[in-house]
Symmetry: C2
Subunit: 342 residues, 2 copies
């Protein structure tokens, strides 16, 4: 029942399972390398709604409904839904989930939300505080652009270090151990890290130190090395952040990620062909890549142990305008192939 392992890690001895998962994405994401992996691709990024914010809400609700359906559960069987997003006051989530009538624990972890909510949902199931818990998140390119940068109509240029907020949502349904489903072995909740990066067009650089710290904490606590895992999967560090992560882990912690690292922001798009600069970002980036491509491969046993390390930049437009640096965070969730395969 959630046994502490080292200073920062919770081992979950009951091995709660992810009994259902879903990812739905927008047009651009549906044209990328993972297009065959998603549960649904919307060809109109408005999803038929009258605003991009409402479209994002619909996106998240759709991911949750599909994940529940695949898990064979109804909303009435869910004890808690843990969810959040990037929009001011998390309206993507609250408006998206309001019809579901499920006890709602609102999360805010910026782009780390998928591992924050999945980690906490797994702890609640492991400790029997919940029988069924859902973790979900979303982001939308158009709602994020106008909130954090400029409305699309402005046609602002983005520097090469900038990343593209994914129009995507992902959801996982967590329940008691089920032999044929992937399971959650351990969770490391991160600490806020701020090395003074102030460039809101370079989130990868701001978030890399948080990812390095959480990965180092996780490896120390579990007495393991990257070679003990098939994949250490960061959320949305992109090109710039990925390079920095490897350097920081090597220099500060003597950890060599070798060939065991991948980043959802680099998997979601074809960077050059799709002109997305340094890669993908947004809560929905890790949310959708993890809940499609990654969990499919874990379920099939192609990947036996994956550490999801979604990363979040905890700034706002106001804090950046006030000259503040960007505090960041990363949470790690160790997911393993079904026990009947391992």
């Amino acid at each position: 029942m959630a046994v502490r392992q080292g200073r920062y890690t919770l081992n979950l001895p009951s091995r709660p399972s992810i009994i259902g998962n879903a990812a739905v994405v927008g047009k651009t994401e549906g044209e990328g390398p993972l297009k065959a992996e998603f549960d649904h691709i919307y060809t109109d990024d408005t999803l038929g709604e009258i605003s991009f914010e409402k479209a994002e809400s619909t996106l998240q609700r759709e991911a949750v409904i599909r994940a529940l359906d695949k898990a064979g559960k109804t909303p009435a069987e869910v004890d808690f839904i843990l969810a959040g997003d990037l929009l001011n006051q998390c309206i993507g989530t609250s408006f998206g989930l309001r019809e579901l009538n499920i006890p709602f624990l609102g999360m805010y972890g910026a782009c780390s939300t998928m591992s924050l909510s999945l980690g906490l949902a797994s702890v609640l199931v492991d400790t029997k505080a919940a029988d069924v818990a859902v973790a979900s998140t979303s982001s939308h390119f158009c709602s994020a652009e106008r909130q954090f940068r400029q409305p699309l109509e402005y046609g602002g240029q983005r520097p090469p270090t900038a990343q593209r907020t994914a129009t995507a949502a992902g959801a996982s349904v967590v329940a008691a151990a089920t032999p044929e489903k992937p399971c959650v072995e351990a969770v490391t909740f991160g600490r806020i890290v701020d090395l003074g990066v102030k460039d809101a067009n370079n989130m990868g650089a701001a978030m890399a130190p948080a990812a390095a710290q959480t990965i180092a904490d996780f490896l120390t606590d579990t007495g393991s090395t990257p070679q003990d895992y098939d994949l250490i999967l960061t959320g949305d560090l992109g090109l710039v952040g990925t390079k920095l992560l490897k350097e920081l882990l090597q220099k500060d912690h003597g950890v060599d990620l070798g060939d065991r690292h991948a980043d959802c922001g680099l998997l979601l798009y074809d960077l050059e062909a799709q002109d997305v600069h340094a890669g993908g970002s947004g809560c929905g980036c890790a949310g959708s890549v993890f809940n499609s491509y990654i969990l499919r491969r874990v379920t099939a046993g192609e990947l036996k142990r994956v550490v999801l390390v979604a990363t979040g930049a905890l700034m706002s437009q106001t804090s950046s305008l006030q000259g503040e640096s960007i505090p960041s965070i990363a949470h790690a969730v160790l997911v393993s192939a079904p026990q009947n395969i391992l």
Copy 2:
């Protein structure tokens, strides 16, 4: 270990204790009826910072540091801090807590954050996922006015149904049962409720249905009536919301709150003398009133059983401008006098 009681309530058999708590407030709050109750009153609402947002961060950090000090704990002894606020991307919290180096679980519950974070912290301690967990929140009149309404310099008039966002922060430190400290008996996490209220100057009306639903769920699950408690304490329904709560509970659930109800938004200010219209609001309203006046009386045994029901309006400025109604939520936490008194 977090035993489910009815559909929505978790009973916490280990009775985790609130081993330290603190509340710090601004000038206006420090001139109200509870002025003798707070740990510190700032006479300058900037707290010496160069922006109101930075002032709010300082306010929340101060509440956490004082609560830890009173609990005899250092930040290094804390397993998790669960916290959030009203500012876009919760920057009051992330910038306030970044120096503390404590694993951080970001919450978003709007003004329900105190009971969301305290409830979840108590579940984590009860299930032994944490030995020590901190719950905290903050709000600031000036940062909230300029974000949600107009900058103060604009001098906008507020209607009589409007409430004043409290400049206040509160923090609770939760740990294993300690006989001489108040304890948490049970938690009911709420569902999102939206009856279609659209007036962002009447949050009390928007949130009352959520409070009614959560209180009804809690009473049904525990097989109890309001008369079994000394106080059912809502967060910030104010004058309008309080009246509606009583009507809704009577009409929809046959529950008579009688003389057992109080509202932090009505306790914090002298409504007429301080010209705060329908009462106080903001995450810090319930955060500060609960972590001062209420917990002092619970610790002394003057109040034996109190149900804290902080309420949150899950809208943003954008959703209101888009003509959306206001989804709301309320979470209930049952707190009892120290076991050596009961």
